[in-house]
């Protein structure tokens, strides 16, 4: 989760899911694997055993696709922007971007405890019967921390600006 970028009137929080593999790490791993496998296949091809080469090539394509597909979650992000009048949530993945705007005066931040201990809690911003879930990919501790921060920033319903922030 990125630190909030705060100006006098605007606060911006960006949260994104955990990926243990960096793009650079993936590139290095994939490059190393290709180098090894295609070198072996190439050397065997030089000895006349060329049918191994297309199998190696196909396999590397498959590994590349699998890494690409798995790394797609890296592009997922939620951007929460608080202005004096609005709270907006932008949910992004590689291809789409969905923006939901709530009036800050009426917006509520709710963290719902799960009925079963095996299930995650759910953090939402709600207003006028609409709701938007936030941080479903965060750990419980991170979601709890985000909830406290948002409740401070957004304030209670019918409380604008948030009293918790004190006078400007």
């Amino acid at each position: 989760m990125e630190a909030p970028q705060q100006t006098r009137h605007t606060v911006r929080i960006v949260i994104c899911p955990n990926c243990s593999l960096t793009l650079r790490g993936a590139a290095l791993f994939f490059g190393g694997l290709c180098l090894f496998c295609l070198t072996v296949a190439g050397l065997l091809a030089l000895r006349g055993m060329w049918p191994i080469l297309p199998f190696s090539g196909l396999e590397m394509l498959l590994v590349g696709w699998a890494l690409h597909a798995s790394l797609a979650r890296r592009y997922r992000a939620e951007v929460i922007t608080l202005t004096e009048s609005d709270v907006s949530v932008e949910s992004r993945d590689r291809a789409h971007c969905l923006r939901t705007v709530f009036p800050r005066h009426w917006a509520q931040v709710k963290l719902r405890r799960p009925a079963s201990p095996l299930h995650p809690s759910r953090l939402t911003i709600e207003s006028h019967g609409r709701q938007c879930e936030l941080g479903s990919f965060l750990t419980e501790e991170e979601r709890y921390g985000l909830a406290i921060r948002l409740q401070r920033l957004v304030g209670r319903i019918n409380e604008s600006p948030s009293l918790a922030l004190g006078p400007k």
């Binding site: 955990n18 990926c19 243990s20 593999l21 790490g25 993936a26 791993f29 694997l33 090894f36 496998c37 072996v40 296949a41 065997l44 000895r47 006349g48 055993m49 049918p51 191994i52 080469l53 199998f55 190696s56 196909l58 396999e59 498959l62 590994v63 699998a66 890494l67 597909a69 798995s70 790394l71 979650r73 931040v109 709710k110 963290l111 719902r112 405890r113 799960p114 009925a115 079963s116 095996l118 299930h119 995650p120 809690s121 759910r122 965060l138 750990t139 419980e140 501790e141 709890y144 909830a147 406290i148 409740q151 401070r152 918790a164």
Partner: protein, 536 residues
């Protein structure tokens, strides 16, 4: 500031678990797919075992007439292929499916649909392979190594064999890709590489080996196919090809394949021994580096399988010394396991019994491997029952015992129930005794000169063959206990209340309830949990 847990959600709390046949056919849950792999592996273990029973019955005494020599050779071939590709490898993939996400704090495998596909290819592959018994011109009978020109002499079964091998290879590659991507990208925050359990580490290296060598096998069998049907001469000396080249290519795949079957066993043993010694694993990092070293060395030792084909002396020396070098990282592992047990508070529940047996019996297989690595000695041992004894010590009392130990170790976590300890111990003791009765005499037979892959033998080999066959029947029968113990446990075992079934266990899987919920780690574990689990 108000407590943020303001409300309790009213949304339906259920496991979103599909039911009926769809649950299994369209399975994407790693636990379901792991279970299917393990069940399939058990079925194949008994089919391959049935072939072994016929083989041992035929060899009970000289002049055996139970099956004709052609069928005998087919059974030898199918036994090897089924046990390697159908029993051992799928069992490891099943364990990987079950345990890797639980151990790294991931909600599932990275590519669940691919996971489903890689399992469901297997039944078709093995149906095709077993169907070769019923086609004109006999089933493949050239041994699992499929050396040309012998393998090219079989009729309709030959293309079926090649297609089955391709399917098994595709399944293995898909499984390996899934394991690699899962471990690389789905580790929970804080689960650094050097905090991963050894089982995950050994599987990561195994998956790399699979990806590196499977195209070589695919290319090799495709060249056999084109030699047979399309007039190429890759391995046909009359057309300018080289049949020995097939052996080089095959063993470039085949030797890493041996480590593909044994490295995850090292991982399992590294989980079990610290648990029942109630001590952290001795030399965690050394174990990781030793595993990587073994994997590296596996690529430069292949020709020790073919010392007798007429290699140059320099090549023989290189492959002899590189093979002997493997004893160093393997020794590191064995001594580290022993050091872990040293002054530990040991108890001997079934998983630990299998782990200790693994330690002794795998070492016997390792030592006979060292003997086979010596070029002058290998000229004596090559193609004899000594080799059969060696690799069965490695693969049965090594890999298969580790799989059984793993099942007894994690079964309470999977099922939420405890199995019948007495029956499990009976299973262990019968297995440990009779595996030695079965395979140890084969060392003597090999040293006395009995060739492998023959349906009949000279009378001087009778006594030890009888002993070996009796051991084989008893070992085979005792294995029926394993599915019975599992079935009884799942049906009516005593419920396990604690998350930690074994008091000395460490790792994220033991932080989950028993049985592990259908969806686990939907929320990544905290760093504190990870740190507690990683107390190596």
């Amino acid at each position: 500031m108000a407590e943020p847990h303001a409300e309790t959600t009213a949304h339906a709390e259920h496991e979103h678990m599909p039911h009926g046949w769809r649950r299994w056919v369209f399975a994407t849950n790693h636990k379901d797919i792991g279970t299917m792999y393990l069940v399939a592996s058990c079925v194949m273990f008994f089919i391959g075992g049935a072939a072994a029973m016929v083989i041992r019955a035929q060899l009970f005494q000289p002049g055996g007439k139970l099956v004709d020599p052609g069928v005998f050779n087919s059974l030898i071939t199918l036994h090897g292929l089924i046990m390697i590709f159908g029993a051992i490898m799928p069992a490891w993939v099943g364990l990987a499916n079950w345990m890797i996400p639980l151990q790294i704090g991931a909600p599932d495998m990275a590519l669940p649909r691919l996971n489903n596909l890689s399992f469901w290819i297997l039944p078709f592959a093995f149906s095709l392979l077993i169907a070769t018994l019923f086609v004109p011109g006999s089933a493949p009978a050239g041994g699992w190594t499929m050396y040309p020109p012998l393998v090219l002499q079989f009729g309709d079964s030959f293309p079926m064999l090649i297609f089955a091998i391709h399917l098994m290879g595709i399944s293995s590659i898909l499984g390996a890709i899934n394991v690699i991507v899962t471990i690389m990208n789905l580790r929970a925050p804080g689960m650094t590489l050097l905090r991963m359990p050894l089982f995950v580490w050994t599987w990561l290296i195994t998956a790399f080996l699979l990806i590196a060598v499977m195209p070589v096998l695919a290319g090799a069998v495709t060249m056999l196919l084109t030699d047979h049907f399309f007039g190429t001469s890759f391995f046909n000396a009359a057309g300018g090809g080289d049949p020995v080249m097939f052996q080089h290519i095959f063993w470039f795949f085949g030797h890493p394949e041996v480590y593909i079957m044994i490295l995850p066993a090292f991982g399992v043993i590294s989980e079990i021994i610290p648990t029942f010694s109630r001590k952290p694993l001795f030399g965690y990092e050394a174990m990781v580096y030793a595993t990587a070293s073994i994997a590296f060395l596996s690529f430069i030792v292949w020709a020790h399988h073919m010392f007798t084909v007429g290699l140059p002396v320099s090549a023989q020396l290189f492959f002899m010394f590189s093979t002997m070098l493997i004893a160093v990282p393997t020794g590191v592992k064995v001594f580290n396991w022993a050091a872990t047990m040293w002054k530990g508070s040991l108890t001997f529940e079934p998983p630990m019994l299998f782990a200790v047996a693994f330690l002794f019996l795998f070492s016997i297989g390792g030592f006979s491997g060292l003997m086979l690595a010596l070029v002058p000695a290998d000229y004596q041992y090559h193609g004899t029952y000594f080799v059969v004894a060696h690799f069965h010590y490695v693969l049965v009392s090594g890999a298969a015992f580790a799989i059984m130990g793993a099942v007894y170790y994690w079964l309470p976590k999977w099922s939420g129930r405890m199995y019948d300890m007495t029956l499990a111990k009976w299973h262990f003791w019968l297995s440990a005794i009779f595996v030695n009765v079965l395979f140890f005499p084969q060392h003597f037979l090999g040293l006395a000169g009995m060739p492998r892959r023959i349906p009949d033998y000279a009378v001087q080999f009778t006594d030890w063959n009888m002993v070996s066959s009796i051991g084989g029947f008893a070992f085979g029968l005792s294995q029926l206990l394993l599915p019975y113990v599992v079935w009884k446990c799942v049906r009516s075992g005593k419920r396990v209340e604690a998350n930690k079934t074994w008091d000395g266990a460490h790792g994220l899987e033991w932080e989950l309830p028993s049985p592990a919920p259908f969806h686990s780690w939907t929320v990544p574990p905290s760093e504190a949990l990870i740190a507690r689990g990683a107390e190596h």
